[in-house]
């Protein structure tokens, strides 16, 4: 509701720029691409960076091989012939170590990261940089992320969700309350790392921790909604589960690490809205899912007792259907409101990205996430309690 009110307040100012964006001055930028066993996607990723509409002499591309065991290093070495590309190879140490290697070698005014499974739109960087030109106090700018070339319903479900994220992030950006600066092409002023230090492991969510650290230090993060980056998303339920387990676990644990910023007026909407809303969402979703699970269990148990007592007899649940038996408890209406707000968020995400809405994707999103989300939610809470860190893949 808070986000919706924010949207209504700002709806006239959220517009996609048409045509080329021209900057008064093109500052130097380094984009670090950390790669660990990314042979399938890395070529396209680097190619998209080379095709950016940004002066070549102002853009440095660092390709950091983090001890890959596949053909990644061979592929990225082929790009070493480009004057603005530099290839690094190091022992495997995790994404944050690869990013830090990039930072150590960075001598440009701006620095960013691009995940090796993502591809940038050719106008994305210049659009992001325009935000820095517009506002001196902006310290980081994140792009809009879309799902690249979805093929199955798991990916289409995520496509709907990523549009919702575009909307949510844009609204959070408008109220200075972004809590994550995602791996696909968030650009930072170098000053951020000079003042705050390098990336940290941060429960395998270094992109969330740096955003928390920036918010704690009153650094402004913006969302450039018309700069698009396309990312490969998990194509199976198992991989999606692992990714989300890492994200939610990261959110819970980074929030615990930064609990001091909670409900502090001096940290603004980030402290008063984003993080508390995240916590409330996890609690509310856990409660709702537990309720549904208990109901489902009771239903199955009842059916088993019935089967054991009187055997099987087919009867359609809609036979002699009487509206009297429709549940009309308040929680049902609250759930309906919540679902409507999620649908509105997805639709507004499409509107911001100026894309057509596919109701089928929304349907996939609800059907897949309502079944799988409880598992990653409860697992991440459980892992936090037993202090078990989820793996990357």
């Amino acid at each position: 509701m808070f986000l919706l009110v924010t949207f209504l307040e700002n709806r006239k100012t959220i517009k996609n720029r048409k045509g080329k964006v021209v900057l008064a001055r093109y500052p130097t930028v380094t984009v670090t691409v950390p790669c660990f066993n990314e042979e399938r996607t890395i070529y396209k990723t680097v190619r998209s960076l080379l095709d950016l509409n940004y002066p070549k002499e102002k853009l440095k591309i660092f390709l950091v091989d983090d001890g890959s065991t596949d053909g990644t290093l061979n592929i990225i070495q082929k790009f070493a012939k480009y004057s603005n590309v530099k290839v690094f190879h190091k022992e495997n140490g995790g994404k944050h170590t690869a990013l830090n290697l990039g930072l150590e070698n960075c001598d440009t005014e701006f620095s960013g990261c691009l995940d090796a499974d993502s591809y940038v739109d050719s106008d994305s960087l210049v659009r992001i940089m325009s935000y820095f030109e517009r506002d001196e106090s902006t310290m980081a700018v994140a792009p809009s992320i879309e799902v690249s070339n979805p093929k199955n319903i798991i990916e289409y479900a995520q496509k709907a969700e990523y549009y919702m994220s575009i909307y949510v992030k844009k609204m959070l950006g408008l109220i200075n309350a972004i809590h994550v600066t995602p791996g696909p092409l968030t650009i930072f002023r170098r000053k951020v790392f000079e003042e705050l230090g390098p990336y940290r492991s941060a429960h395998n969510t270094e992109d969330m921790e740096i955003a928390y650290r920036m918010q704690k230090n009153h650094m402004k993060i913006e969302q450039c909604h018309d700069a698009f980056v396309y990312t490969n998303t998990p194509s199976s339920v198992r991989r999606l589960y692992q990714q989300r387990l890492r994200w939610i676990y990261g959110f819970i644990n980074n929030t615990i690490d930064y609990r001091g910023v909670l409900f502090q007026k001096k940290y603004g909407n980030f402290s008063l809205f984003t993080v508390p809303a995240g916590i409330v969402s996890i609690i509310a979703a856990s409660y709702l899912f537990s309720r549904i699970a208990i109901r489902l269990w009771n239903f199955v148990e009842g059916k088993i007792v019935e089967l054991r007592t009187v055997g099987f007899e087919f009867s359609s649940p809609f036979y002699n259907f009487d509206p009297f038996f429709i549940n009309t408890k308040s929680v049902l209406f609250v759930i309906l409101i919540l679902y409507s707000l999620v649908i509105v968020s997805i639709v507004l995400g499409h509107k911001i990205a100026e894309k057509k809405v596919f109701p089928l994707h929304i349907l996939y999103f609800f059907s897949i996430y309502s079944v799988v989300a409880p598992f990653w939610l409860f697992s991440s809470i459980y892992n936090t309690i037993v202090a078990k860190r989820p793996s990357w893949r």
Binding site: M1, F2, V5, T6, E9, S137, M139, I175, N176, H218, M219, K220, K265, K266, Y267, G268, N269, F270, L272, G302, V305, E306, T309, V310, E313, D322, F324, F325, N327, T328, K329, S330, V331, L332, F333, V334, I337
Partner: protein, 231 residues
């Protein structure tokens, strides 16, 4: 960076959210009241039907049995009311209103039972009567299973009339039934089939022959009456 917090917006959002929650609660109350009114309506209808049947029965000496009609409809209505009440108890909560409806329902069942007994013996209708006592005061899984057995039998034999009574119903008429059949709360579920008391869970294999036998008894009773008539 200045972290300006727009308190006015927080307040507005709070008000909107509160309104939404209150509307949800209001809607829920509205539908609950509507459902209770619907239950009351069915009860009134049954009550009227019973009164009408009683009157019809009083007039029976002057009428032939074929004029006695509408009982199966009444049975359906009682069944519907029972199912809705049960649903109401678990979904609307055991409010005073729902408990009152439950008492009224028990009373209607007793009246229907007495009337139907008289009519079936006078007119020779093939009905079997089962009085079923259960409890909701404590968790009685056997009662749930007994309920399933009875529902299944009721579906199979439309002439089977099952009257169910919650042991904890605070109503003198129900208490009288409990006293007559010596029902104890430690021996629930309990069934009364043709005046015989069966305590504990009775499975379908045991209960079905009993009920079939009851139909048989009715037939015999009818034959005896016919014979008496001839003599």
């Amino acid at each position: 960076m200045k972290n300006n917090v727009d308190w006015k917006k927080y307040f507005i959002v709070f008000l909107i959210t509160l309104t939404l929650f209150l509307s949800a609660s209001y809607l829920s109350d509205y539908f609950s009241t509507k459902k209770i009114n619907q239950l009351k309506l069915i009860q009134d209808e049954i009550s009227l039907d019973i009164l009408s049947s009683e009157t019809q029965f009083a007039l029976l000496s002057e009428l032939s049995c074929k004029n006695v009609s509408g009982f199966s409809v009444l049975s359906d209505l009682l069944g519907e009311l029972g199912a809705k009440l049960e649903w109401g108890e678990s979904n609307l909560g055991k409010t005073e209103e729902v408990e009152y409806l439950r008492k009224y329902y028990s009373l209607l069942q007793i009246k229907d039972y007495l009337l139907m007994k008289q009519i079936s013996s006078r007119c020779g209708f093939k009905y079997a009567f089962v009085l079923y006592f259960y409890t909701t005061a404590e968790n009685c899984s056997e009662c749930e299973r007994q309920g399933l057995v009875l529902s299944r039998l009721k579906n199979k034999y439309p002439e089977l009339r099952v009257y169910s009574f919650d042991f904890s119903t605070d109503l003198s008429a129900v208490e009288a039934m409990l006293a007559i059949y010596k029902i104890e709360d430690t021996k629930l579920p309990a069934l009364v089939v043709e005046g015989d008391l069966y305590t504990g869970f009775q499975d379908i294999d045991k209960l079905e022959p009993l009920i079939q036998e009851t139909f048989g008894l009715e037939e015999e009773g009818e034959e005896e009456e016919v014979k008496e008539g001839i003599e």
